[in-house]
Structures are given as C-alpha cells and as structure tokens.
C-alpha cells in the first residue's frame, strides 16, 4: 500500500461573485495547477482563470469534412467500380444523389468525433478515481456552493501559506484533500481456479447459446418461414391434388414453344417422304455457324469433325460410315433430316429432343458444305 498523500487544498465559496474574484486572485498569484468548481458554467470564470480558447472545433471541422469525403469515395467505389449499378440511365457516379448523404455523414462524423474528443482526449474521462470524488467539497459544489482547489503539485504550493491565502479570499472553509491510491495488483493469475471456472462457464454458455440459436431457434417460426412456403417441393407429396402429384401433366396435345411435331415419323414411308422434303432454311453465314456448332457438338463425337467417320469415339461404338460416299452425296436433304430426327436402324439415336428443327436443317447445310469441301467435283456436281 502506498501512503496517502496531500492532493491539494479545496476552498468553498458561497457566491459566484466570490469564486470569480478568488479565481482571478489565484491566477494572478501565479498558480497553474488549480481549478474552479461549480455545478453550472459561470460566465467570466474562463477569463478570470486566464484559460485559452478550446481547440475542439477543429476536430469537428476535420472529422465532418472527412465524413463527406469518405461517403463520396465509398459511394463511388461501390456503385461505380465494385458493382456498377445502372439505374434509369443515370451515370454510375450520380453525385447529386449523394448530396443528402454527404450532409448526413458530415454531421455524423463531426458530432461523434467531437463528443469522443471532448470526453476522451480533452477531459480524459471516464475517471472515477479522482481524489476529489466522494469528498464533502464535491458534494457541496454539486449542490449550491462554489469551490477552488489548488493542487499540491503546483510549484507555488505551501500548505499553511496557501491555506491562509484561500481563507483571506473569503473562503467559507478550506479542506485538505488526500490522494489515497488503491493498490491494484496487476499480476496475471492464469491458473487461478476461479478464472478457469469462469472461462469454462463462459465457453459452455456461449456454445450452448450458439448451438440453440443456430440449430433450434432457426428451425422454429417465424425464422423458418423460408422453409415453410406453400409450394411444391421436389420429392414431396402435394396436399392440394388428390393424386398427390404436384407437377401436373400438360393437357393432351400441348406443344412446347419451338417444338411442333415433325410431319414425318419412322413409321411413315421414309423414302417417299424424304424425296418431298426441301430444306426450308436458307443458307447464310449465321446458319452455317449454327450448323457447324451443332455438328461439332452432337455429330462429331461419332462422325468426326469432317464427317469422314474418323472420330474421337472410333472403336468404342459401331463406326458410322463416311458421309462422303457417292450414294450419300446424292441422297436428298430429307434423308439427313430424317436420320437426325428419328435415328438410324437402332445404331444412331434420335436427336429430336436435343436439336430444334431449324438447327437440324442448319446441320444439313453444314454437311453439304463438308461434302463440297472434301470433294468439289463430286457426283452431285454433274
């Protein structure tokens, strides 16, 4: 325990006039470590104590301006750089829209910084361990008296002289205030059983709460309402339809967009039908591109990129014939279309589900182009 030490002499005055006059005298005597006390700010006390103007307004200015600047930077980065947001044809950096928030952030940053600066930097609060706390002096000042306290640290301080000086200034009473520092041991006791028990309790409580919150609470309403929607979930029974099926079969004869049934099927007379089919798609660079893309996707694994049967899957499946034989070159477009649509002799499957009709005709155009490219003077040229 350290010894109790004289903090200073605290004088009580009963009127504001006396305390202002006393403060002026104390300042005039050359004291610097002293303060005047009253439960409301008294006008004229600052000049009597010869205090300088406070510099806090600069904090407000700087913080307020930086609030506005940071807001602009943040809005610019978020809505123009990181995730450009197109709203009604406005520019990404639509600064007039940010003006209200620039103002709000000026105020917010300015006010918060000013208050923190006042309390923490200027007043060094919170501090409840000041020697003046809990003294009769503080209680009187707090109620209806006024006070001046001169600290013993001041170079001009001398207990008896200063006491007389204060009494001469008209003090009602002069008390000695002692500083009684509390000895706080800062030694860490990590292995203290109480500390370990506290850690264990905190761990158990926090993990139990987390577990309950995440695994139990989220599964009760209203938090679970996302799971409890009135909709058909896959693999679940519909309570709305009597047959329990939520996904209803379409009405008989329903046709999907772009999937009108083909006029010919395998059961029809193929040869007859093929002759009458004409490629309805006119060739164009775009059609050729679509044909090439689809051919490379669907046909080339077996037929090869050049329709010569030299493919990536050669040997693993029955090899398809080359499409460059004379008979196939002379075959009508309808044959190719029909084979793509319906498959061929159980070896090649139907591609009607994968390839829309127009694209099948585009593939036919691409096959014709491949045939011409392989042999420009083929039999069909004659």
């Amino acid at each position: 325990m350290s010894e109790k030490r004289l903090y200073g002499l605290a004088a009580i005055f009963d009127t504001p006039e006396k305390v202002v006059a006393a403060a002026r005298a104390v300042a005039g005597r050359g004291f610097t470590k002293y303060d005047s006390y009253s439960s409301y700010p008294i006008h004229g006390l600052d000049s009597a104590m010869r205090l300088k103007r406070t510099r806090i307004p600069f904090v407000t200015l700087v913080a307020g301006l930086s609030g506005a600047v940071l807001l602009v930077l943040f809005t610019w980065w978020t809505n123009s750089v990181d995730f450009p947001l197109a709203i009604g044809g406005k520019p990404y950096f639509a600064w007039p829209d940010y003006v209200p928030l620039m103002f709000e952030m000026t105020v917010l940053f300015g006010a918060v910084s000013t208050v923190i600066a006042l309390l923490v930097v200027w007043l060094k609060l919170p501090r409840n361990s000041h020697p003046l706390h809990d003294t009769e002096f503080m209680k009187k000042v707090s109620k209806d008296k006024f006070g001046i306290c001169i600290e013993s640290d001041d170079p001009g301080f001398n207990e008896t002289e200063t006491r007389r000086f204060l009494e001469d200034l008209g003090a009602e009473s002069v008390d000695s205030v002692y500083d009684e520092p509390v000895d706080i041991s800062l030694k860490q006791k990590v292995l203290d059983p109480k500390f370990i028990a506290a850690i264990v309790v905190v761990a158990v409580v926090s993990s139990a709460t987390t577990y309950l919150a995440l695994n139990k609470m989220l599964l009760i309403r209203p938090w679970s309402s996302l799971n409890a929607q009135f909709k058909v979930n896959p693999e679940s029974r519909s309570r709305f339809y009597s047959d329990g099926i939520g996904m209803r079969p379409p009405v008989t004869g329903t046709v999907a967009r772009g999937h009108l049934p083909d006029p010919i099927t395998v059961s029809d007379n193929l040869a007859a039908a093929e002759k009458y089919l004409v490629n309805p798609v006119l060739p164009s660079p775009h059609v050729m591109e679509v044909g090439q893309r689809d051919f490379n996707t669907y046909c080339s694994p077996c037929h090869g990129y050049f329709a010569d049967g030299n493919s990536r899957l050669q040997g693993q499946f029955p090899s398809p014939p080359s499409l460059h034989t004379d008979s196939l070159r002379l075959a009508p477009d309808g044959l190719y279309y029909n084979v793509i649509t319906n498959g061929f002799q159980g070896v090649m499957p139907s591609y009607a589900r994968q390839i829309p009709r127009k694209e099948r005709w585009a593939i036919v155009w691409y096959i014709r182009a491949l045939q011409k490219a392989q042999n420009p003077n083929g039999p069909e040229a004659k």
């Binding site: 439960s39 700010p41 006008h43 307004p57 943040f74 300015g110 006010a111 006042l118 000042v141 109620k143």
Partner: protein, 465 residues
C-alpha cells in the same frame, strides 16, 4: 387604470423570470431530483399500468404480425403503405420538436428553453425509437433489414445510393445517434449531481458510471460548453434534413399526391407542428404530476403555443398550395387525387385533419387560451390526432386511387393495425414515465445558470457576451 390586481395580468414590457419564485440552487436540486428519490405515487403507477397495458396490446399485435406475416394488416396492393409508414413519419415528426427546442432555441439564445429542453430531447429519442420499429416490421421479414446497410455480403451487392429509402436509413440513424449524444452530454453534469447527493450504494455506482466521473471543474466546463454549441449547430441543419429526406421517400416517386416539390418544407413544418403538440401534451402531464409548475411555467406553455400557431399556419399554407399546384399543373391525375382526398372514401379523415391542424389552432391567437392549461392540453391532443391523420391521408389517399382504375382499392385497417398503433403510444409514454422517474426531467445545471444572481454582475434578462 392604475393598479392591476388580477393574477393573470402580465407586464410584457419586462421579461418574466424564467424560474418562478427565485428558488435557491439547493432547492432546484431537491425538487428536480425528488421524483427520482421518492417512491412514486399511486397516480404514477396508475399511469404506468395504462401505458404498459397499451404496450402489451401492441406486443400481442406485433407478435401476430411477426408470426403470421404482414398479411395480418389491411395493406394490400396498391395500398402497400398504410399504418406502418404513417406511424413512422408521425413519430419522426414528433421527435423534431425536441431537437428544435434543444438545439435551435439554444442557438437563438432563447433561454426559456432550459425548463423544457431535457424532457423534449428525451421525447425526441423515444419518438425516434418508436419510429424505428416501423421500417423494420413493414419489411415482413425484419431480419432482412440489414440488407439496407452497406456491408460486404455473399451476394457481392451494395446498396443503391440513388434511393431515398437508403438516405432515409442513414438520416434517421444519424439523427438518433446525434440526438442521443446531445441528450447524454447534457445529462453528464446532472448525473454527477445525482451521484453526489444519493445515499444508495447501487444508485451511486450507476450514476458514477453514467456521469463518467464528471467533477464540475471549470476546465471541464470550458470545453463542454463549446461542444454543446457545436452539437446544437450540427443538430439544427440535421433536423431539417431528416424530415426532408423522409419526404423524399414520397416526393421522388411519380405518384400523384406524392410527386410535389413542396414536400420537404411542408414535412419539416408539419413535423415541428406535431412535435410541439406532443411536447405540450407531455410537459403538461409532467409539470402536473411532479409539481414542476414553477419551473415549466405558463410562460413556457404560452411561448410553445405561439410556435405551434406559427407552424400551424405554415402547414395550412401547404394545404392550400397542394391543390393549387395540382390545378395549375393541369395534370388530370394530380387534380383527381385532390378531389378524391376531399370527397372520396377518406373524406372524413381529410376534413378532421383540416379542422385539427388549421382551424382549432387558430384559438391560440387568444392569450387567454394560450395560458389556460386545460384548453391547451385538449388542443395539443387534437393536434396530435390531426397530424397523425395528415400522414395517413397523404399515404393512403394517394395510393388507393392511382393511375389505373382497375387497380383501385379501398384500404381498411385491421385490428392488428390498431393494436400496433396503440402499442407504440404505450411504448412512448412508458418510456416517458420511466425517464421522468429515473433521470432529472429538467436540466439542473442549465436551470441553475438562468436563476437570478447565478452570474456575477449579470443584469438579469439582458443579453451577455
């Protein structure tokens, strides 16, 4: 005409004392701290049981809303906003008078504000808390409210800074933060006084923590006073901006009845008007219940009534200007909204609003009315009703008859709408009652500074510095 003997004759040639009877500094401490130190009266508990019942009704209604969703309310397209946003705008507006009294009147050196500023600021904070509930619950799934806050998230999305709804969140939360700090800074010296006078150990600990170890030292007061001025200076434009931004929620849309440039000043004037109505209501109750008539004097009520009258005229001007612009613009949709308001399904609400906000406040021209506490109390209640209806009329009558007649729809509030409305009033008055029981309702340090003889060589009533 020599001697005036009646009690109500006031000599307006001299400023009346701000605190009647010139009490000593110790008496100010005693009488203001008394409600916090004495076991409250039966009247207090009666009032508290009423407000807590209202709060409970609201909690039940809110519980139903959260459990079953906002389908419990009467809202339906096109009337997607109704009681929820009405209450939001109403409560934000209530808050504004508190800031006006504490900040704007402070900057204008209106020293009569000291008697009422603390209670008015507390009212601001409670009103903003009440208001804050509604944007949350009107989402339906309030836990998604954080989507409006620009934090990095798994969607890689940010908020849309062009939206007034985002501005709204920033404005209201800034307003709440700054109001709370302003209030707290004002409370610190008073909390220190409470700390020094209390005999209870627990109370002393609480007050010590809250007062941060304030020592009433002049080297503290010096910085403190400057910060108080700065905060007042920041809060003054803030209060104007907040209700302007709230009005942008409407004015930026294209809906007839909302899409008008008069909305920002109109909303600010309306906010101050309704706020003063509520301040009058609350203060008349507080001064009566806690016997503070000599601190919150009739002069205070008189002055507040004058501000109320002024803002009532501003609101009346906006009421006139709205139909004029609708007619002058030549837009048939705008004009139809005006007609539908005055003659349509909600015409009763519209005319009650006109009566409460424009006609009844005209009584305040009379000095007798301004100084008659009972009449003033009734007028303040009617102003609250009128201003709540104003927001309701603006929101619902603009939505229920929009461009497409096929989507017209009559909105009818449900019992849950009314339950939440009652509950939020219960919350507000519960908080006011708890506040008046736990904290000094009048700023002791400021009040001491305006008593006679508080400052050396100070000629009372004259300006200083």
């Amino acid at each position: 005409m020599s001697s005036a003997t009646t009690e109500e004759v006031i000599d307006y040639s001299v400023t009346p004392p701000l605190v009647e009877g010139n009490p000593s500094l110790a008496k100010i401490n005693d009488s203001i701290a008394l409600p916090t130190e004495r076991w409250p009266s039966k009247k207090y508990f009666a009032a508290l049981s009423v407000t807590l019942t209202m709060l409970l009704i609201g909690a039940v209604a809110l519980g139903y809303t959260l459990y079953y969703g906002i389908g419990m309310w009467g809202n339906n397209i096109p009337v997607g906003w109704a009681f929820d946003i009405t209450n939001f705008v109403f409560w934000i507006g209530i808050g504004h008078a508190g800031t006006l009294i504490s900040a704007i009147l402070f900057l204008f050196r209106q020293r009569w504000r000291t008697g009422i500023a603390r209670a008015a600021e507390a009212m601001t904070i409670f009103a903003v808390m009440c208001a804050g509930i509604f944007p949350l619950i009107h989402l339906g799934r309030p836990w998604y409210a954080l989507f409006i806050i620009p934090v990095p998230n798994q969607h890689g999305l940010w908020v849309n800074w062009n939206s007034p709804l985002v501005w709204d969140v920033f404005a209201v939360s800034t307003y709440f933060t700054v109001s709370l700090m302003f209030w707290y800074i004002g409370l610190i010296p008073d909390l220190a006084m409470m700390r020094d006078r209390t005999t209870s150990k627990v109370k002393k600990m609480i007050y010590s923590i809250l007062s941060l170890g304030w020592r009433h030292a002049n080297r503290q007061w010096q910085h403190y006073e400057k910060v108080y001025v700065i905060l007042a200076g920041l809060a003054t434009p803030l209060v104007l901006s907040v209700h302007s931004i709230v009005s942008f929620d409407f004015a930026v849309s294209i809906l007839p009845g909302w899409h008008t440039t008069i909305f920002p000043p109109y909303f600010v004037a309306g906010a101050i008007f309704s706020g003063f109505g509520m301040v009058l209501t609350v203060l008349i109750i507080i001064r009566k219940v806690f016997n503070l008539e000599y601190i919150i004097t009739k002069d205070h009520l008189d002055k507040m009534a004058k501000v109320t009258l002024l803002t009532s005229m501003m609101v009346a001007y906006a009421y006139l200007m709205e139909p004029f612009i609708a007619w002058y613009s030549g837009s048939p949709f705008d004009w139809y909204t005006v007609v539908a308001r005055a003659t349509g399904h909600y015409a009763i609400g519209f005319w009650v609003m006109i009566a409460c906000n424009v006609l009844i406040p005209q009584l305040l021209w009379s000095k007798k009315v301004r100084r008659n506490v009972a009449v003033l109390f009734v007028i303040s209640l009617l102003i609250n009703v009128g201003m709540w209806l104003e927001r309701y009329i603006i929101i619902v009558t603009s939505l229920y008859r929009d461009f497409l007649p096929s989507s017209w729809h009559i909105y009818t509030p449900t019992i849950f709408d009314f339950g939440i409305l009652i509950g939020v009033f219960g919350l507000f008055f519960t908080l006011v009652l708890l506040f008046s029981r736990t904290l000094p309702v009048v700023s002791m340090s400021e009040l001491k500074g305006v008593t006679e003889g508080a400052h050396p060589h100070h000629n009372f009533g004259a300006g200083h510095e």
